[in-house]
């Protein structure tokens, strides 16, 4: 039993260490961009409901803030990660920039969750950013 526990602990430590350090791989960057794509798409769905007056303002504001938090966190991770390969570094920089624009569009919903025209503009912008993120990930 003790050996089993020791083995389990070692496997856990090895798994943790395996996930730490080193430059960012295309696969990791692709996952990160996938999060941006998903968040922008979800923001677009929320913005559409704001534009069509189909949602509650408090929910739209809080959820837009949550989504914005996801994007900010992803942008921080991307910014802090090292990228040795030139194409990965280029894509990483574009992803950080894209995250900023997604955050701004989500901010529009957060600030004015009852503004239908603003919701429509945010919807179109987030739709475009989601597609941009997909293209960026596909290019890796």
């Amino acid at each position: 039993m003790r050996r089993l526990v020791a083995f389990a602990v070692l496997v856990g430590i090895a798994a943790l260490l395996a996930g730490c350090g080193g430059p960012m791989t295309p696969d990791e960057l692709s996952r990160s961009i996938g999060t941006l794509e998903s968040t922008a798409a979800e923001g677009s769905l929320l913005a559409k409901d704001v534009a069509d007056d189909r949602t509650k303002a408090t929910f739209a504001r809080v959820h837009a803030r949550d989504l914005s938090g996801v994007v900010d966190h992803e942008a921080e991770k991307l910014n802090d990660a090292q990228a040795d390969q030139a194409d990965v570094a280029r894509a990483k920089s574009r992803a950080v920039n894209l995250a900023g624009r997604i955050g701004t569009a989500l901010g529009q919903i957060q600030i004015a969750p009852g503004d239908e025209a603003g919701g429509r503009r945010a919807q179109h912008a987030l739709d475009r950013f989601s597609q941009d993120a997909k293209k960026l990930a596909d290019g890796l």
Partner: protein
């Protein structure tokens, strides 16, 4: 009406058990990521929990022994203490996640701060536990959680491809690890250990005896099948809304957004009411399960059927677990991630939880004429084998798929 109220234990055990804060998001993730092909995993899990819940209720009706008393009797001191510690870690982590989830849900309504609403949730749950009788807790949280039935209406209104849904209930060979990650997760979600601890102790609270065999069967079959139906509905609706848009949900807000698509604000409000009471039910399930297990292991007087002040050790442990859960939630940890860690801790507990039920259910000396029949024996051993496989597969798939992403 009496028949409807008599299945409240099964409803709260199921709704609180496998539609808790983590499972709500997990079902939506499954629908958004792989879609309907994983649907078959839900009935596999539901049949498993029905088999073991029915068996544990029958054991209580015959022997008056809840599940952790069986663990103590069958395992001896060391192994039963290990099972206790592992189950407490799992249950209290989940309790923290549920309280955190309640904070998030209430904040979607009022936008003050999540931490403030975690405190409000703690006070609300503590008041409900103190003032409501056991049957009242079951009915309030179990039946109001049924507002989640909005997802059945939503999945119908979203006009799904019925052929695709039908094919989803037929298992298929698949090479993608992410597909198996969601299959294993959906089956495991239905078999979380605290459900069975709560169900068997609840049967003692309700004073079941041999005349309640039909009530036990109705509770286990109808209650857990309802929970399974809601799981399926969330998955199907998410496959309709989230998958085409490429959305992978990370919060309970996304799950509510799914119900908003066909029914606008009415869908959103019904979804949040259902989520609020389902997660509240899970909070009650986990808080009581932890206190039940500790009291049964230590041989203390326990139960909501007595006055809480007349059993100070049980009452203090119940309050203590709620406070630990509150402290965990106040750290600001993401409740969804917390439930994922809780699943890791559930691994050693799963087989250890279910084996004593099977052994006692098969024991004619204890069960007499209510001993497991051939079908219950075969299903019981088959599911026990499956639980052992899940216990190994779950962490491997979690690491291999990076949590299903």
């Amino acid at each position: 009406m009496k028949a409807v109220f008599s299945i409240a234990l099964g409803v709260i055990a199921a709704i609180g058990g496998f539609i808790d804060i983590g499972d709500l998001v997990f079902n939506a993730q499954a629908g958004g990521s792989v879609g309907t092909p994983v649907l078959w995993a839900v009935p596999v899990g539901v049949v498993g929990i029905i088999v073991f819940a029915e068996m544990s209720g029958r054991i209580v009706a015959v022997s008056k022994k809840p599940n952790f008393v069986l663990v103590k009797e069958r395992y001896g001191r060391r192994l039963s203490t290990f099972t206790l510690v592992a189950s407490l870690v799992l249950t209290v982590l989940t309790l923290g996640a549920e309280l955190g989830g309640l904070g998030f849900v209430l904040n979607y309504f009022f936008d003050v701060s999540v931490n403030f609403f975690v405190l409000v949730a703690l006070i609300g749950i503590a008041a409900a536990i103190y003032f409501l009788p056991f049957g009242g807790l079951e009915r309030v949280f179990g039946y109001l959680g049924l507002a989640l039935l909005v997802y059945i209406a939503a999945s119908l209104k979203l006009d799904p491809d019925w052929g695709e849904i039908g094919r989803g209930f037929v298992p298929e060979s698949h090479s993608a690890a992410v597909y198996w990650y969601f299959v294993v997760g959906l089956i495991s979600a239905a078999l979380m250990p605290y459900e069975i601890y709560f169900y068997s102790s609840g049967a003692v609270e309700e004073g079941w005896d041999e005349s309640d065999m039909k009530v036990n069967r109705a509770n286990s079959i109808v209650g857990f099948a309802l929970g399974g139906l809601i799981s399926v509905a969330i998955l199907v609706a998410s496959a309709q809304v989230l998958k085409p848009a490429g959305i992978s949900p990370t919060s309970v807000g996304t799950v509510a957004l799914v119900a908003e698509q066909p029914y606008a604000q009415v869908g959103l409000i019904l979804a949040f009411v259902g989520i609020l009471f389902a997660v509240g039910g899970a909070t009650i399930d986990t808080a009581f399960s932890a206190a039940y297990n500790l009291a049964q292991h230590q041989g203390w007087k326990w139960g909501k059927r007595f006055r809480l002040l007349s059993e100070p050790r049980f009452t203090l442990s119940l309050a203590g677990f709620l406070l630990i859960g509150f402290a965990i939630a106040q750290t600001g940890v993401d409740p969804i991630e917390l439930t994922e860690y809780a699943v890791i801790f559930s691994i050693p507990v799963l087989p250890l939880t279910y084996l004593p039920i099977l052994l006692v259910g098969n024991d004619r000396n204890v069960m007499g004429k209510y001993v497991n029949g051939p079908l219950a024996r075969v299903l019981g051993w088959a599911y026990f084998g499956l639980i052992c496989v899940l216990a190994v597969a779950a962490p491997v798939l979690f690491v291999a798929t990076n949590g299903g992403s």
